[in-house]
């Protein structure tokens, strides 16, 4: 936030007013009791709804993708209410990157497991001889809970992590003139999924 506080006052109202193109399209945070209170009230419900959608993905409409998006929207709301920069510092990059990457890792691990047990990729029923007695599940239930695991631990993590990363990367903007740490994606770093924009902070 520090670099924005020094900018001219009229830019704070409308990002498009600037003539030199320095701070364009950067929404500037202004503290609002209405928004902060509303967000505080709404967040628990949205979070619960997101988790509900995620956990019910296998047998009702919903799933990891939709649930992950709703969970990410919680953090987007927090960012709008309490300032993007402070939310970014509060969340820490390792969390945002970690969500996306660990999600892929868990997905991969669940998929690779049956390969080690002599089956095909993602063939959940192969876990049955190994874990069936331990978990008390029947063979067909492994398909259901295997999918649940991929949805919840894999896809929901990935989607929420990537959406948050995209949001913060876009909010950080592109400033060719400055070499600030906030925009690590200044030159070659434009590559790939947006989560990386935050990695090197």
């Amino acid at each position: 936030m520090s670099d924005r506080d020094g900018s001219r006052p009229d830019e704070r109202l409308d990002g498009r007013l600037d003539s030199d193109g320095v701070a364009r399209q950067r929404p500037v945070y202004s503290e609002s009791q209405v928004i902060m209170t509303t967000v505080k009230v709404v967040i628990p419900f949205v979070m619960t709804y997101g988790l509900f959608i995620t956990f019910h993905g296998a047998d009702t409409p919903g799933g990891g993708f939709q649930g992950g998006a709703i969970i990410a929207s919680v953090f987007l709301m927090i960012a709008f209410a309490f300032g993007i920069e402070s939310t970014r510092e509060w969340l820490a990059n390792s969390l945002v990157v970690g969500l996306g990457t660990v999600g892929v890792f868990i997905f991969g691990a669940i998929g690779f497991g049956p390969l080690l047990l002599g089956g095909n990729f993602l063939e959940y029923t192969r876990y049955e001889p190994l874990l069936g007695d331990l978990l008390g599940l029947k063979e067909y239930e492994f398909v259901k809970y295997g999918m649940e695991a991929v949805e919840i631990l894999g896809i929901a993590f990935i989607v929420s992590g990537v959406l948050m990363g995209l949001f913060f990367a876009l909010a950080a903007g592109y400033s060719p003139s400055t070499d600030s740490l906030a925009v690590t994606g200044d030159r070659r770093d434009g590559a790939d999924t947006a989560t990386m924009e935050d990695t090197d902070d």
């Binding site: 990157v97 970690g98 990729f121 999924t193 990695t199 090197d200």
Partner: protein
């Protein structure tokens, strides 16, 4: 369980793609070793896939891995045969080679994540046996390629990437529409299943014809066949050299492979026999692409642009083989796909080496550079001649069999087109060789009449230094990898028997 190789080939690079980011949170410069480990794993897996198929008996030459254990028409299959094993091997080898070339450049971790994602996406396109799954991997490849192209310096790279994004997305969408028509006509997405079901529906059914038409145009956009090539020169020219080498060698190649796979494994030769107009149109468009691509390449001054337009011509030759309906021509097309991948990787890496060391980006800049960089210059010359088709080289093999197939099937015009294109490619390769070897070296301190050029040269060398290179100093591993690939394009001239052994069972199925 050798079919496990197929699942590992696709998933290992995709999962490995997270580690540059994850490890990068704690450790600096972890991206390159991880990407290298992933790429080496791909080479190992692809190599063992190829050797499994090569040594297997007549039955075992097609490996099938049913994902999640669901049987074929309902579940998604990964299928490996001689054709896809060759392409997978090419992807692995080029991925390792380009990474070696990239060693001396400092890049963010996310670049290597993208690199591995792209490798995994390409392998997915190569090995999938499902039309919709192919679309998913096509999108993975497309999105990562746009991002990697945009990783270049400045606005031109962003412009090139944006153009590629618009056209590439249109191409993928057209493909998806085509798949949708096939689904409406047959109710299936599995390639093997579609083969029988399309025959039941009838090849002259408008739905089936429209399906092939959309798929064809979608892939022509992705392959960059004239007049749908407009994204390609900008993307190749303005992308970082590493990315240019990688995508020019693999992305269009894999799209062309997918077109061949769908044309002959899903729609089959009977479709072309029933629709001679479609086959003739493919031959016509591809022939135009060969000539126009060569002409455009011959008129360029920027080296990377020459190579980019040359790709338009080379891929025209591959696509022409799809329309020719000749086993010999298709054999040539597959060899040319692999040869072109190796040659373009070599040429773009060679051009990148010279541009980062000497700031040389136009043909005029190459004047006398062979004295300063004998190995890189020599590799560019050898590979350029291979691209023309001077024997002994893999470039000749591909063109020869495509031309032979054209003559065998009575389409003399294609043979003439290939001959004309060879002459044109000789003209632009000769320009390069002439500049490299027979034009006197420009000395920046010489104070000659070309003072302007010398100043340009010096400033460009400076910018190259800022770019991570060292003026006048070339990283030895770059020279080694470029020279090695250049030699491989010559040595592979002797590999017809190997290609034949790999492809014979596949083509036996295509041309029953």
């Amino acid at each position: 369980m050798s079919d496990t190789l197929l699942a590992l080939l696709v998933t290992v690079p995709l999962v490995a793609a997270i580690f540059p980011l994850l490890v990068g949170l704690r450790v600096d410069d972890a991206g390159w070793p991880i990407a290298m480990a992933g790429s080496l794993a791909v080479v190992g897996l692809a190599g063992s896939l190829a050797s499994t198929i090569y040594t297997a008996g007549p039955e075992g030459q097609r490996l099938i891995h049913e994902l999640a254990g669901y049987p074929a028409p309902y579940g998604i299959e990964l299928v490996g045969d001689g054709l896809s094993a060759l392409i997978a091997l090419l992807i692995g080898v080029v991925a390792v080679a380009v990474l070696v070339y990239d060693r001396s450049v400092d890049r963010p971790d996310a670049f290597y994540s993208g690199y591995l994602l792209l490798t995994g996406g390409l392998l997915g396109m190569t090995l999938t046996g499902d039309l919709f799954n192919l679309f998913v991997f096509l999108e993975i490849v497309g999105l990562v390629t746009y991002a990697l192209v945009a990783a270049g310096d400045g606005g031109e790279a962003a412009y090139g990437a944006l153009k590629y994004l618009f056209l590439g997305t249109v191409g993928a969408s057209l493909y998806l529409i085509g798949v949708g028509y096939a689904l409406v006509a047959t109710g299936s997405l599995n390639m093997l299943d579609l083969q029988t079901r399309l025959a039941e529906v009838g090849y002259t059914d408008p739905l089936v014809q429209a399906s092939f038409g959309f798929i064809l145009v979608g892939f022509m956009l992705k392959i960059a066949v004239f007049p749908l090539h407009t994204w390609q020169p900008d993307a190749y020219t303005h992308a970082p050299d590493t990315v240019s080498a990688f995508i020019s060698a693999l992305v269009s190649t894999t799209a062309a492979y997918a077109l061949i796979r769908i044309a002959f494994d899903v729609f089959t030769v009977d479709f072309f026999a029933a629709n001679p107009l479609i086959a003739d149109t493919v031959v016509l468009i591809a022939s135009i692409s060969i000539v126009v691509g060569s002409l455009l390449a011959a008129t360029q001054t920027e080296v990377k642009r020459v190579f980019a337009y040359s790709s338009v011509a080379q891929f025209g030759m591959v696509v022409v083989a799809v329309g020719l309906n000749s086993r010999t021509a298709l054999f040539g097309a597959v060899i040319h796909l692999i040869g072109h991948g190796l040659m373009k990787a070599t040429l773009f890496m060679g051009a990148g080496t010279l541009s980062s060391a000497y700031g040389a980006s136009t043909i005029a800049d190459y004047a006398g550079l062979a004295k300063r960089a004998p190995y890189t210059g020599g590799a560019i010359a050898v590979t350029g001649l291979a691209l023309v088709g001077i024997p002994p080289s893999i470039g000749l093999l591909g063109k020869w069999y495509i031309g032979l197939g054209a003559v065998e099937s009575g389409t003399w015009s294609v043979a003439i087109v290939i001959f004309v294109s060879t002459l044109l490619s000789l003209s632009y390769v000769y320009q390069l060789i002439e500049a490299l070897y027979f034009t006197p070296l420009e000395e920046p301190t010489g104070g000659e009449s070309t003072a302007d050029g010398a100043v340009d040269h010096a400033t460009m060398a400076d910018s190259a230094v800022a770019d991570g290179g060292h003026a006048g100093r070339i990283a030895p591993e770059r020279v080694a990898v470029v020279a090695l690939l250049a030699v491989s394009t010559v040595v592979l001239f002797a590999s017809v028997g190997l290609f034949d052994a790999m492809l014979d069972p596949v083509f036996g199925r295509f041309f029953q």
